[in-house]
């Protein structure tokens, strides 16, 4: 593990790490830090993984607001399953969390993959970015 924290010595998880954007190489979005995995080891608690996915996000939103999340799915093609990115896959943390390309690949949302297959059939979907 060798994460570049850009000179930070301490961090508050709620303000400084949770809800941040997780990007793969070339700033391609993977998801948000929806939750964090904490592991107890040798009497200390360590943050060991990022958890991405709307199932994890649901837990952090009070019950009364969860229908809003479901409404959001209507537009974006459904909810996400939970994915895990181990801390050893993180490269840099500054205004976003940059992970390795393997992590970005494997943590890609299944919903995004599914929709991609559908959208790829529309002419123009392969066109160079515009």
């Amino acid at each position: 593990m060798n994460i570049d924290w850009r000179g930070l010595e301490k961090i508050d998880l709620g303000t400084g790490l949770l809800d941040r954007q997780v990007n793969g190489p070339k700033q391609h979005p993977v998801g948000k830090v929806d939750d964090l995995e904490l592991t107890e080891r040798d009497g200390r608690i360590e943050v060991t993984a990022l958890i991405l996915g709307t199932a994890a996000l649901r837990e952090r939103v009070p019950r009364g607001f969860r229908w809003l999340l479901r409404a959001g799915f209507l537009f974006g093609g459904g909810s996400d399953q939970t994915r895990r990115i181990g801390f050893d896959q993180i490269k840099v943390v500054d205004s976003d969390v940059e992970v390795t390309s393997q992590a970005a690949e494997s943590a890609e949302s299944e919903t995004e993959r599914r929709l991609r297959r559908f959208i790829a059939r529309i002419p123009g979907a392969e066109d160079e970015s515009q």
Binding site: I3, I11, D12, L13, G14, T15, E40, I45, E46
Partner: protein, 105 residues
């Protein structure tokens, strides 16, 4: 355990009564970038931190003053002063008033 289990979770005092909530989880960065929990930021009410109490640079003056005011009673407890269960239940081993204010770290 997940961070969401800890955040906003109720904190019970040494006497077993509810004393506050977990506002944030503070961690230190060790060699090679591992994140080890150092303690919990505790408060009476579940308000967010803005981050000004830790940063060197100044934000808009009024906003900083506002955050100071909102968090005038917010405390920090290090890991020795806490008992955290596997499911994220938090018990304070010392009295609330014995805890330092967050800016005094």
């Amino acid at each position: 355990m997940k961070a969401s289990d800890l955040l906003a979770s109720h904190v019970t005092g040494p006497g077993g009564d509810r004393v506050g909530v977990v506002i944030d989880v503070r961690a230190r960065i060790e060699d090679r970038g591992r994140l080890i929990l150092e303690g919990l930021v505790l408060g009476r009410r579940p308000l967010r931190l803005f981050g000004y109490e830790r940063r060197a640079e100044r934000g808009p003056f009024l906003l900083e003053r506002f955050e100071s005011f909102l968090h005038r009673g917010t405390k920090f407890a290090n890991m020795d002063q806490l008992e955290i269960s596997e499911t994220g239940q938090v018990r304070l081993k010392v009295g609330w008033d014995a805890l330092p204010h967050i800016t005094e770290i």
